[in-house]
Symmetry: C2
Subunit: 72 residues, 2 copies
């Protein structure tokens, strides 16, 4: 899986909602560290988690996550 990276606007979306990492983690059913790691792009989430996060933040998933360096 080539050159493109998956970026996200999780931190901004969370700030708009004014909820903490811990609250979002609770809403999504994961740990706080998982949210932190995704925001800092230490790893990319599973597609399931990406969709759940979008759902909890009430945003389309494509607005929260996007490809960078796409070749398509």
């Amino acid at each position: 899986m080539g050159a493109e990276r998956l970026r996200n606007r999780l931190r901004v979306a969370r700030a708009e909602r004014r909820i903490s990492q811990e609250e979002l983690a609770g809403l999504a059913g994961v740990t706080r560290q998982t949210i932190s790691s995704i925001e800092n792009e230490q790893y990319v989430p599973s597609a399931l988690l990406a969709f759940v996060l979008a759902s909890r933040l009430d945003k389309p998933v494509a607005e929260l996550f996007y490809l960078e360096g796409d070749v398509s």
Copy 2:
């Protein structure tokens, strides 16, 4: 991560495009088995792969993948 499942319309989208699992795998940079496993929902892909697949199939990711049993 609770009750919801991640479903996908990969097989249909691929049929529309008339490409084989192997071709799609090549486009996405993964193996044929990976495509097969995702179509048969043996596991959910990473968010990166989900977005790459959508890009290669020229569909919005939310059209290819969707949550089922959402509580949101």
